[in-house]
Symmetry: C2
DNA sequence: ATTAAACTGAACAAAGTGTTCAGTAATGAA
DNA sequence: TTCATTACTGAACACTTTGTTCAGTTTAAT
């Protein structure tokens, strides 16, 4: 065992700890889970835990990194430009992914610390959206609402829909949720960019 | 001191504890504040604290109850019905209130536990909005998006705007923010109730 | 002055955190 | 198989925080 490749034992141990955390999150709130709970569930020594993670939050974040990467990827096919109007594209695959992966996600959505996760998702999405909308701004038009507020609105609407859906037993299909998302956002994009006559 | 009126000392003590918490929240995260911190700042004995509040969360919630009541009141003038279309009404006063009261609110918005607060606001607002929209549903029309999802969208959009605003140094006026809110929501209400032709 | 309620703060038990370290187990290389 | 290395174990420890208890003190109404 001299090679610089990671010992498989290490990965196995980390995964056991990881799974113990999410298993526990199905039973109680993240804040109430102790490190003792985790190492008992994972069958791992106390010092082993601390050799891998300095704090519980660090464990949570590391557990969630892959999920974060996946969600970030979805944003890339998130907007289309049909030559005339920017519109949000289908996010059905995102909802489908959440549905399949609901074990990790359900725990995460219950976590009080979930916000640190969604914050990261939102920051990435906002960045992408802003880049896109800025570059496609109709010349000579001033958006009725600042771009930063609009992008923030779009991201948080999607995240909010996801949360609502998960917390209401996913009682609509991914396809329906996708449609609802676009019904909520596209008229608003139209109005912000093109419709100067909307009274309010 | 036999009367059944509350001792003024009690109120004074509770207020001292209360103010200590919010004073501390300007300096560090709620999770990192210990009860020892609070009683030191409030100049109050340990057992006094526990005679008033069982936990730190209970203190936070009690501190925030008045604020909650105020925010709930704003929702009541939140929607108008002009005889033809339901539309969100001005929420400028809400933004103005937040601006004036920013001491308590800023601390609250930083709190990881803020969500328990906004959840309560959202539940109340959703309830009111749903009641309203249901009763005013245009006959013979089916909304494109379920009412519950729409109400949830409206509430969370407003809360999200508030959060964004506070976290970005309130760099727009309450009047502007009010306008942005309506620009984001009204086209979407129109579309959900009246426009069957929005392609997506 | 008397009295009842509120506050004080030290002492305590319990639970959790994070570190240390001597010992054990696993594994790749010789 | 043996050896060396690295990872894991778990008991012991110091430290922090929590929440309770209680004897004594302060406050203020009567």
């Amino acid at each position: 065992m001299k090679g610089n490749e990671l010992d498989r034992r290490v990965l196995k141990t980390r995964q056991a700890i990881n799974e113990a955390l999410f298993s526990l999150m199905e039973e109680k709130r993240y804040n109430k889970i102790t490190i003792q709970d985790i190492i008992d569930r994972a069958n791992v020594g106390r010092s082993t835990f601390y050799s891998h993670f300095a704090t519980k939050d660090e464990l949570l974040f590391s557990s969630v990194e892959d999920e974060l990467e996946i969600l970030n990827q979805y944003i890339k096919s998130y907007i289309e430009y049909d030559g005339e109007k920017p519109r949000v594209n289908s996010v059905m695959e995102l909802f489908e992914h959440i549905q399949e992966d609901s074990k990790i996600v359900k725990g995460l959505f219950k976590t009080e610390s979930a916000d640190f996760f969604f914050e990261k998702v939102e920051i990435y999405w906002n960045h992408r959206l802003e880049e896109y909308l800025q570059s496609k701004l109709p010349l000579g038009k001033n958006p009725k609402v600042p771009i930063k507020i609009l992008t923030n609105h779009i991201s948080s609407t999607l995240i909010n829909l996801l949360k609502w859906w998960v917390n209401n037993n996913m009682s609509y299909t991914p396809s329906q949720m996708d449609q609802y998302f676009r019904d909520l956002i596209n008229p608003c994009i139209d109005s912000v960019f093109y419709n100067d006559s909307t009274k309010s």
